[in-house]
């Protein structure tokens, strides 16, 4: 993302290379034109998105592998997740993707207030997502549905003669916490990126000629949404 940062430095004496005597304040010196700068930032962001897909991909492959070996266990363990909370969070994230896209749109047409409004709505959605996630995690902790040797759900089950989860159910919860946890970290980072974009907008650095921070921040946010689009059905719905 750093390629998107503006060099605020006033025209230095060594400036040259581009023919325009005066160039826009947002144009960094190592770019020929605003379009060149914009394209470079987006190219870098897309390559970063590809690496993110591959990082989450490793976890998805682990999920597929263990699920293939322990299909029945996965199915029984996934019933301990709250479908409704997961669905609510899905709707919240999809809506936040819409508002992030609207923020980009408003910045493209030079509507600074609109950009601010939609960025704030996006950040609020991120907060709602994390609050719902907090309650989900709290419930899992309470029931001892945790990874590896922290898994204590079977003890409580025996005590209450409840339904006993199958052997190795802790594996499911290891994947659940790794996948939703890494995604949760991305939500937090996304909130940081969007807050930074919001600040630049409030500082008056964003215009219809330069909206790269909004565009790049929103791309990151959409990635967070994309990952959840796969996490939700695989963990909550089919197990």
């Amino acid at each position: 993302m750093s390629s998107a940062t503006t060099t605020e430095a006033s025209h230095s004496p060594v400036e040259g290379g581009h023919g325009h005597g005066q160039h826009a304040p947002f144009l960094a010196h190592h770019f020929d034109t605003p379009a060149h700068q914009f394209d470079s930032a987006k190219l870098g962001m897309w390559i970063f998105i590809a690496t993110e897909i591959l990082m989450f991909g490793g976890l998805f492959v682990a999920y597929g592998l263990f699920r293939g070996q322990e299909t029945e266990m996965f199915h029984q363990a996934h019933e301990r997740l709250d479908k409704i909370m997961g669905a609510v969070n899905t709707v919240v994230l999809l809506f936040s993707s819409l508002t992030a896209a609207l923020a980009v749109r408003q910045s493209q047409v030079g509507d600074r207030k609109g950009t601010t409004r939609w960025l704030i709505v996006t950040l609020l959605c991120a907060c709602i997502f994390l609050v719902v996630k907090f309650f989900e995690y709290q419930h899992k902790f309470h029931d001892g549905l945790l990874p590896g040797h922290y898994f204590t759900a079977h003890l409580a089950q025996h005590a209450h003669h409840g339904h006993v989860l199958p052997y190795r159910a802790h594996m499911f919860f290891a994947l659940y916490f790794m996948m939703t946890g890494l995604h949760g970290v991305h939500v937090l980072i996304g909130m940081g990126v969007l807050s930074w974009a919001l600040k630049r907008n409030l500082d008056g650095k964003i215009s219809s000629r330069y909206f790269t921070p909004i565009e790049i921040g929103a791309l990151y946010w959409h990635l967070v949404d994309l990952v959840w689009i796969y996490l939700f059905p695989l963990l909550y719905l089919v197990g």
């Binding site: 379009a35 897309w46 998105i49 493209q108 059905p233 719905l237």
Partner: protein
């Protein structure tokens, strides 16, 4: 220098160039109309409701297939319209799809590995392919005493000492 502009006719609204910046090298983009974006959002919600509804119906292994199919549809909508891959430079789509191509290679080779090596199971000393019973390379050495029939695929009942 080509830019991120596009010239489809579907959606409109005005790119910055209509505001008087006609200079070479300015950022030109395709601006979607808010209504169009809300329509995409509505489609995403419909698909979400559908996938949740289907999860209550037992379709056997088809449940997983439907879930992944719907998720892929939703992801495509987000990438195409919210992330502006439509009308964007082709290289961005190539990079994005390329990531999935490598993911498929990852999944494929992992599956191939699992399917063609014997199960490594300490409890059963299995050294055979679970599907065919043929002795497979890798895995543990079979102890001198014949280790009974080929055994329990994973997920079967649990040895007690683990609880």
């Amino acid at each position: 220098m080509s830019t991120a502009s596009s010239d489809h006719t579907s959606d409109h609204a005005h790119a910055p160039q209509t505001e008087g910046h006609h200079e070479e090298g300015e950022v030109h983009v395709h601006v979607n109309s808010p209504l169009f974006m809300i329509a995409i959002f509505a489609a995403l919600i419909v698909l979400t409701v559908a996938t949740v509804a289907v999860s209550y119906v037992d379709l056997g292994s088809a449940n997983t297939f439907v879930a992944i199919l719907v998720a892929t549809l939703k992801a495509s909508l987000v990438a195409t319209f919210f992330m502006h891959l439509k009308g964007d430079k082709a290289i961005h789509s190539i990079i994005f799809i390329g990531a999935f191509v490598f993911l498929i290679i990852f999944v494929g080779l992992t599956n191939d590995d699992l399917a063609t090596r014997s199960a490594v199971d300490v409890d059963n000393g299995s050294h055979r392919l679970e599907r065919t019973g043929v002795v497979a390379p890798g895995g543990l050495q079979i102890p001198a005493a014949p280790a009974g029939a080929t055994t329990p695929a994973a997920g079967a009942a649990a040895p007690a000492e683990h609880h």
